[in-house]
């Protein structure tokens, strides 16, 4: 049986497109996290009322 040959990208265009999409998602997540941290002091905790 012949060993599995290494998968090679068929087309770099799609790879770049996926990389761009991934970068956009990551940048968006970072931006949202920084924004939440700067405005509310936490990322995941829901701010409660002072009362």
């Amino acid at each position: 049986m012949r060993p599995n040959p290494r998968r090679i990208a068929v087309n770099d265009l799609y790879t770049a497109l996926l990389a761009l999409a991934t970068f956009a998602v990551a940048a968006t997540a970072i931006f949202v996290a920084v924004k939440c941290l700067s405005d509310y002091g936490t990322i995941f905790k829901v701010v409660e009322s002072a009362r």
């Binding site: 497109l17 999409a21 998602v25 968006t28 949202v32 509310y40």
Partner: protein, 287 residues
């Protein structure tokens, strides 16, 4: 890579990019609710503090209002009492006013009757004054006539006294003559009565003296130390500096020089005083 896989890769990439852009846009433009919450909280705190302050001031004002209300109620009560008293006084004053008004009306009627009475009395007074004036004029005329009659009476009395003196003198002369005749005739001639040639029918009477205008006669009415008043005045023709002669019987008393003249009497000073004049002595301007 199949075609379907390529299409899926492209679509998922585009969708994820679009979704990430939408998320970034929303997150970037969304409000900072914490800051707004803090701001609203501070505003709420300030409003609560202001509310507390206003509540405290409201309580203070309420207390003051209650205190003022109590005072005003007391004062209202006092004023009500005073009003009640004043109402009573007003009623009494109105009652007195009506009473006085009734009195005024009655007095007005009395005054009206008094005015009528006074008018009648004034009319009768005028009539009485007119009668008094007439009586006064009659009195002056009668007094003047009385003075003239009195003067003529005194003059006639003086003449009678003079005639009486002549008669006495003649009687004494007659008695002397009879005594001389009796002495000449001797004792035979005693008892001879001499008959007068002319029979004596009556006592001779002096002719009446006509009073002329310039001959004024009157009486002394008052005697002072140096002044005497006579019953003649300017109505009788007496003037200042006229001279009157005073007689008591046929005796000359003094002379009067007139210094003051009134309507019905005159006064003057004495001159050539032989005796003190008395009230009732006869005065005349002729000797």
């Amino acid at each position: 890579m199949s075609f379907f896989t390529k299409v899926l890769v492209v679509l998922m990439s585009l969708f994820s990019i679009f979704l990430c852009g939408a998320v970034v846009t929303y997150v970037g433009s969304v409000n900072n609710y914490r800051a707004m919450f803090d701001e609203q909280k501070s505003l709420n705190d300030s409003l609560v503090a202001e509310n507390t302050s206003l509540q405290r001031r409201f309580n203070e004002k309420t207390a003051l209002m209650k205190e003022l209300e109590v005072k005003l109620n007391d004062r209202i009560q006092l004023l009500e009492d005073e009003k009640s008293k004043l109402d009573v006084e007003l009623k009494n004053a109105r009652r007195l006013s009506l009473d006085y008004q009734g009195r005024v009306n009655s007095w007005a009627g009395v005054l009206t009757s008094f005015e009528k009475t006074i008018a009648n009395l004034e009319q009768s007074l005028n009539l009485t004054q007119e009668q008094l004036s007439n009586a006064h004029a009659d009195n002056i005329r009668d007094r003047k006539e009385l003075n003239e009659i009195t003067a003529s009476l005194y003059e006639k009395i003086v003449q009678m006294q003079a005639l009486e003196a002549d008669r006495r003198r003649l009687l004494e002369a007659k008695l002397d003559l009879e005594e001389q005749i009796n002495q000449l005739l001797g004792p035979e001639g005693e008892g001879v009565v001499i008959e007068p040639v002319t029979p004596e029918h009556d006592v001779a009477r002096p002719s009446s003296v006509t009073v002329v205008g310039a001959d004024l006669k009157g009486l002394i009415t008052e005697v002072g130390k140096s002044l005497v008043s006579i019953s003649l005045g300017s109505d009788d023709g007496v003037k200042k500096d006229m001279v009157f002669h005073v007689f008591r019987g046929d005796e000359f008393i003094c002379r009067i020089v007139i210094t003051n003249v009134d309507a019905s009497k005159a006064a003057g000073v004495l001159e050539l005083v032989q005796d003190s004049p008395r009230v009732g002595d006869f005065v005349t301007t002729r000797l």
